[in-house]
């Protein structure tokens, strides 16, 4: 029996498919059969309406036997036109019911049928109407599976790529329409997107969590290293030119807003990338977020060759001085300082800097531990899940399967490499003029990607000199990179407001 189990299952499956096909073709070949079937339910309907026993009468039959609006007693509600139409439709459905039709409609609601036959018109990333075929949704399902594989098997940013991958998978399920609106009711992914991705709430909640998790001590101890975080922003701004130049290639036409939204990938800061994309180019949100998180996960692969190319072995061996201890009051006042500077200099960056400072302030004051724990754990995790699902909801064929996605992937890599190089080159320059030696390897940590970029600098330093501990020194440009990217984002928002 056990040996025959697969065979039995196969026969059952083939049988079911044959039954389905028979029903489908019989309905097509013999339209009279359905006409014949129409009479039966009509008779049945009559039977129901003729029932005198009110206990057996369905609500539908009660409505049917209701008196005419004109002869109604005062206070009784007349039957609406829409309700009448619905009743007529229900009646017609009941009359039209046949086994063949039933099978046909079941077949038409299968995913296989939809993937093979579906054809819809949707707005592309550039706002032009495009025809989307079912097979394109199937490819997007595959993309979702690849993202899941990257997250699960390769451990690439699993906290984010797994929900994004699953969101991609779900939003491309045909018929269910989870990412859109059907019959006036929004799908669950649409609700998630509207609740916090489209209105930029979730990235800001994540920024609060980042603030609550970040220790700005290394930056306060050695503030001049924060210049490396500023230098790394050349990756963000430099890529704007790259995006504009890409317009020379046929098939690409980025606007300045789109170029800015893409270039922020160079900041290696996921929430900021999503924040800017939602603000300047919401139609590119999916590809930008996926590219940003993918490159963040690839920091240990992308940065080392750039670091080796731009530094000499002797520079990599440079040992840096121990930082001074930082007092509690200094740490408490730091978030207030950056908020005040933000208010005075670039208020457009206040949502990002403000939420980061809020999270860090309540961490440092040390009297609201419950709130800090909530920000660091539950709130951050909930926002991450919903944000990633919302991003996945944007991974539809009309938005993803476009030439612009290819451009985003290329430009993202350029932005990331340029940012890393910018930090290293400024560190080399500072090393020439500084009294205290600066290891240029920590410059690449100026791109945010906290703390992975700092870890890469540390690891590279240890490869050159196993006794060299750069991690705490690299944290200074690393956290200043977060501030720098938020300011860069504020500049871009201010430019297009």
């Amino acid at each position: 029996m056990k040996k025959n189990k697969p065979l039995i299952m196969l026969i059952t499956l083939v049988g079911l498919i044959l039954i389905g096909c028979l029903g489908y073709f019989s309905a097509r070949a013999n339209p009279l059969a359905s006409a014949k079937d129409q009479e039966k339910p009509a008779g049945r309907e009559k039977q129901i309406t003729d029932e005198n026993d009110p206990r057996q009468a369905s609500p539908r039959s009660v409505v049917q036997t209701a008196p005419e609006a004109g002869s109604m007693p005062a206070g009784a509600r007349p039957i609406g036109r829409a309700q009448k139409a619905r009743e007529e439709r229900d009646k017609a459905n009941l009359r039209d019911f046949s086994f063949a039709k039933f099978l046909k409609s079941i077949l038409k609601t299968t995913g296989v049928y939809a993937f093979l036959n579906d054809k819809q018109t949707a707005l592309s990333a550039s706002g032009k109407p495009v025809t989307i075929h079912g097979w394109q949704s199937l490819i997007m399902v595959m993309v979702g599976l690849v993202l899941l594989w990257l997250g699960v098997a390769k451990n690439f940013e699993p906290l984010l790529l797994i929900p994004i991958g699953f969101g991609t998978l779900l939003v491309n399920v045909p018929i269910a329409n989870m990412g859109g609106i059907s019959n006036g009711v929004p799908g669950f992914l649409k609700i998630v997107y509207e609740a916090g991705v489209g209105n930029e709430l979730f990235p800001l909640i994540i920024f609060m969590g980042i603030g609550a998790l970040t220790d700005f001590g290394p930056l306060i101890a050695n503030p001049k290293l924060s210049l490396l975080g500023a230098a790394a922003q050349i990756g963000v701004f430099g890529t704007v030119i790259g995006a504009v130049l890409m317009n020379l290639i046929p098939g690409f036409s980025y606007t300045l807003q789109e170029a800015c939204a893409i270039s922020i990938i160079g900041g290696a800061d996921g929430p900021t990338s999503i924040y800017i994309a939602a603000n300047l180019a919401p139609h590119l949100l999916g590809p930008i977020a996926v590219a940003a998180y993918s490159y963040m996960a690839l920091v240990p692969l992308i940065q080392p060759p750039i670091m080796r190319a731009l530094t000499t072995p002797s520079e990599r061996r440079i040992r840096m001085k121990q930082s001074r201890p930082v007092g509690k009051t200094e740490k408490i006042l730091f978030p207030i300082i950056i908020v005040m500077l933000c208010i005075l200099l670039i208020p457009a960056a206040a949502p990002l800097i403000g939420t980061l400072a809020f999270g860090n302030f309540i961490r440092e004051i040390g009297i609201v531990d419950r709130l800090v724990r909530t920000l660091q754990n539950e709130l951050l995790n909930i926002a991450s899940i919903l944000l990633s699902l919302g991003v996945g909801a944007q991974m539809t064929p009309e938005k993803f399967m476009q030439p612009s996605t290819l451009g985003i992937i290329v430009l993202g890599l350029v932005a990331f490499s340029l940012g890393s190089a910018g930090g290293i080159l400024l560190a080399k320059l500072m090393n020439k003029f500084s009294r205290e030696p600066i290891n240029p390897l920590i410059g690449s940590a100026g791109v945010s990607a906290v703390p992975m970029a700092a870890r890469v600098s540390h690891k590279m330093g240890q490869e050159a000199d196993p006794g060299n501990y750069l991690i705490m020194r690299a944290m200074a440009p690393n956290v200043s990179g977060v501030i720098g990217t938020a300011i860069a984002a504020g500049v871009m928002i201010a430019l297009f407001k």
């Binding site: 504009v244 509690k328 200094e330 720098g484 500049v491």
Partner: protein, 49 residues
């Protein structure tokens, strides 16, 4: 068209990098100033719990 976009992109680089560096420089100055004030007031020895 491209030249127009390029000139605007160049302006974005100049303004953007200028603002980012200005912010970070001011932040560095504020951190030093804050440390100096706290040292003067004798409040720089308090360590986080």
């Amino acid at each position: 068209m491209i030249m127009d976009l390029l000139s605007k992109a160049l302006m974005i680089i100049l303004v953007g990098m200028g603002v980012v560096f200005a912010f970070i420089m001011l932040m560095i100055t504020a951190i030093h100033l804050n440390a100096w004030i706290l040292k003067t007031l004798g409040k720089d020895q308090e360590q986080p719990k």
